[in-house]
């Protein structure tokens, strides 16, 4: 069952989706297997042997009144990322397409607070929204067969971070040494829908040093605490 709040990428809608997800988790109506927050809707997977569409609809409708944007707050992260041209494979291309200098692209991308709208596509992969309009680029015409793990890429005013090597069609600006998906951790995903992310530019040397620490499982990133406001305020 899908509870739809709109059809845009909009942090206001997303906040409502996340608020409902939390209310649903607390209420635990019979038959709900799991709920998946997305940009604009909450996907509720249910067991038709334990409930019915009609019963679940009633149970969820009862949770909707009083749903508030402020009722859910995620964590704030500063994620180190290296924008060196050897790792940010499309930085020059994005600069050309946006009419900005590479330094301006790095500045605007790293300093904008981006919201994790949803996790999807791959285990631990966040969809981050909130970039300025210059980043409203279509995906690459020729998707890469292999995007290196840790790549930070943009398209459609959003960012993604590839937790592992994967095919991908987004424009790669940087790479982070921080592991986004560690099976031995609980939860294994670093980020969750509702979190806020800014990027901290790293030199290539710092990146390599941190990558070595990550390989030795000695790199630990902690959030800075909950955000006080929405990402655009």
């Amino acid at each position: 069952m899908i509870v739809e709040f709109g059809d845009r990428v909009d942090w206001h809608l997303s906040a409502l989706v996340l608020a409902l997800a939390h209310k649903l988790e607390a209420a635990k109506p019979a038959g709900v297997i799991e709920a998946v927050p997305t940009f604009r809707s909450l996907m509720v997977h249910y067991d038709p042997l334990a409930t019915s569409h009609a019963d679940l609809q009633r149970a969820i409708a009862a949770l909707l009144p009083g749903l508030e944007v402020a009722s859910f707050a995620g964590r704030r992260w500063r994620i180190p990322a290296c924008y060196d041209a050897s790792l940010g494979l499309d930085l020059a291309d994005v600069a050309r397409r946006t009419g900005l200098s590479p330094a301006q692209v790095v500045e605007r991308h790293s300093q904008t607070s981006q919201l994790v709208y949803m996790m999807g596509f791959l285990p631990g992969l966040p969809y981050l929204g909130g970039l300025p309009g210059e980043f409203a680029l279509p995906r690459r015409e020729n998707p890469r067969v292999k995007v290196p793990f840790g790549s930070v890429a943009v398209a459609m005013s959003m960012s993604v971070i590839y937790p592992q090597e994967s095919p991908g069609g987004w424009h790669i600006l940087a790479r982070t040494p921080v592991p986004l998906w560690q099976m031995r951790k609980s939860p294994p995903a670093l980020l969750a829908a509702g979190d806020q992310v800014t990027f901290e530019p790293l030199s290539l040397r710092e990146y390599e040093r941190m990558l070595a620490k990550a390989a030795a499982s000695e790199l630990c990133l902690t959030p800075n605490g909950p955000p006080t406001q929405g990402p655009h305020t």
């Binding site: 940009f39 909450l42 996790m119 592992q164």
Partner: protein
Amino acid sequence: MTAALRVLVPGLMTTLQDLGRPGYQRLGVPVSGALDQMSFRAANLLVGNGAGVGALEIAYQGPTLSVEADSVRIAIAGGHAPIDILQPSGEVGRTRLAPFQSGRLVRGEVLRMGALGGSAVAYLAVEGGFDIDPVLGSQSTLTRAAIGGFKGRALQRGDVLALKQAAAAERDERILAPFDLAPPKRVRIVLGPQDDHFTPAGLRTLLTSTYTVSRATDRMGMRLEGPPLEHSSKGYDIVSDGIALGSIQVPGNGLPIILLADRQTTGGYAKIATVVSADIPALGRLAPGASIAFEAVGIEVAEAAARRLAGDVAAMAARVASVRRPSDIDWQRLMAENLVSGVVSARESGEG
């Protein structure tokens, strides 16, 4: 001494699967699990396992496995494949294993399975299960992300699959009358959630055409070939939302893709409909080249079909019979004498 099965020939795509890994989709983790959960459950029933114990999912072409345990009880359910048991001497012994019956193999014997017929998949279950650590609560393999199963991948020559049980329990073997593996004449679908992204002609095309399963089909999605579906002015791109098992997404080329066990958790293509859960096991059995047509039903029909399938699963457990000498099974005689109750068919059960 450890108990294991050694892979001599892996088959085309043999992976460890169970009932899947629900609960982590919000982190981007696909559910995975057996494509044909009816056959998967049958294999476990036959070796006396609980319903969700991991079994090998065999696609198209079976593996060859040698027994490195004092003994092991094995059952294969799903597609019909020739099964030979080779003695340690290399001779082909008297076959003691056929699909839908359990059998006991001893150290040094080799199980050799051929090409599957009647279904794209079969399941090989071992009594007690494989001694492979679950990942996020499941033994299912998701090869795309290298999660779960045996090292996160399909089996390869030389792999050694540890068994939980050192030897087969002393008991009679079991048989089950094979159920109808044929697909429903029309696969039932519930329209939506983005059926408004298609023109009336596009919807009509979906409900009146016959599609062919493409060779590009895998555990993630069944790609169909046939008349393209016309998108409305709303187009094929949507703001990504959640994906259900059986979601039919239609990208720009208009050709439907039915999303299966290894489906992505979210997606950005318009989804015209969802296959009802009760028809998913039959879809899992379809091989490239098979035909498929659709019929729209309401959500109540989909839910009733799910309840009926659960009833079929319960009935299957009741139909398992014990046999003292499995090599003497004569199916013709058993069926003729009605010693094994008849074939269950979701198609003929009056649902819908």
